[in-house]
Symmetry: C2
Subunit: 205 residues, 2 copies
DNA sequence: ACGGTAGTAGACCGACCTGTTTACTTTTGG
DNA sequence: CCAAAAGTAAACAGGTCGGTCTACTACCGT
């Protein structure tokens, strides 16, 4: 269920705690799940939790970080399996389909965490920003390596090309995030497929 | 700050409670704000809150419903001011810019509420679904009235045209929701503008 | 002028929250 | 083999939560 090499050393009990907490935090909400319940469902005493993680906040961060790592691995796997950069962009949306089937039917854990955590200084906010900027950066790399936009004269300023790439990458990110959130709110079960289709159209104007 | 004709009768104290709760719920999160704090900041006793709203849950729903109504009014105003259906679709994104400037720098209140409320039977979930389906429906109406897609032979089945309209409407919704959420998470301050641009491109393929 | 409605003030309740502590047992690595 | 690390068990602390209740007062329409 979880990758076993994501963090060097975690006691078996700590592993159970993290797995249980991940399940509960994601599906019930962070604030709705107390450490007592985590301890009970993980078959562990509270002391163990506090010995290993120090605080609930740390446990929350461990949950978010581990999930982020797991997700990026899935995305990269799909990108690597794609035949060409354009296909790789579309493959990101396929990775979302897979991800949702296995680990996500309640939207993005980062966005949800943001909603529950008031303080903007909380590290969860930075982590969320990191994740989204990473995906947009990945999109931008793929677009660039596709050699998209060999437009105009050769004297065309490179800065403009770069800007165009960034814009398109952001468009793809918006479609992706829109699909993540909308797959669960209405009856938009086809959101990911539609997002993929739109992405394809935006790539070849 | 708030529309005054949205609900027939609300005592002045109840009005203050709702306004204060809306501010706090949206910016701090629903679970992070207790009724004691709402009472204190609204200059009201807890008894008044419970006399008027019955429970915190009811107050939360009143907050979400009022905000939803307020938002739809803004969207409709922008749609009405647009010269043509195509412009109206783009105007929805302009309405988002205005909305964000006045009432929203922490994402979508519905989505955030969903993240905080575990039970899928909670009426907030239905309300969120309603809001999103409404916007998609609005998009679909605009696309249809634009006479988009007078493609192919006149014997083309109408069902297919309808399906295409629904797909495009969903694409626009995804861009919209993506822009709402991403405007606040990274440094994607241009998310709405980019979404608008992409929407325009998706409308004229 | 009066009666109902809306409001204040503030104590109170039980449940639940994160986090700590003490005392004892199990596991594990050099 | 044995000491350190990891874990169990369970009580405890201090706070906050949503929600109730009593007693008294201000307002407002008829």
């Amino acid at each position: 269920m979880t990758t076993d090499t994501e963090q060097p050393r975690l006691t078996r009990a700590a592993r159970r705690v993290l797995d249980t907490a991940s399940e509960l935090f994601y599906h019930q909400g962070i604030n709705s799940v107390g450490v007592d319940r985590i301890a009970a469902e993980a078959g562990v005493t509270k002391k163990t939790i506090y010995d290993r993680f120090g605080s609930k906040d740390n446990l929350v961060m461990a949950y978010l970080r581990a999930r982020d790592v797991r997700w990026r691995v899935v995305v990269e796997r799909h990108i690597d399996a794609a035949p060409d950069p354009r296909g790789a962009v579309l493959a990101v949306f396929d990775s979302l389909t897979e991800w949702r089937a296995t680990e996500g039917d309640r939207g993005c854990a980062m966005i949800n965490a943001r909603a529950e955590i008031s303080g903007p200084d909380h590290p969860a906010h930075a982590l969320a920003a990191d994740q989204k900027r990473w995906l947009m950066g990945r999109f931008a790399e793929l677009i660039e390596s596709a050699g998209l936009l060999e437009v105009g004269s050769e004297t065309e300023v490179k800065a403009e090309v770069k800007a165009e790439i960034q814009d398109t990458a952001l468009e793809l990110l918006l479609l992706h995030e829109g699909a993540v959130v909308m797959s669960d709110v209405g009856q938009f079960g086809n959101a990911v497929a539609i997002a993929r289709k739109a992405a394809g159209r935006l790539l070849s104007p």
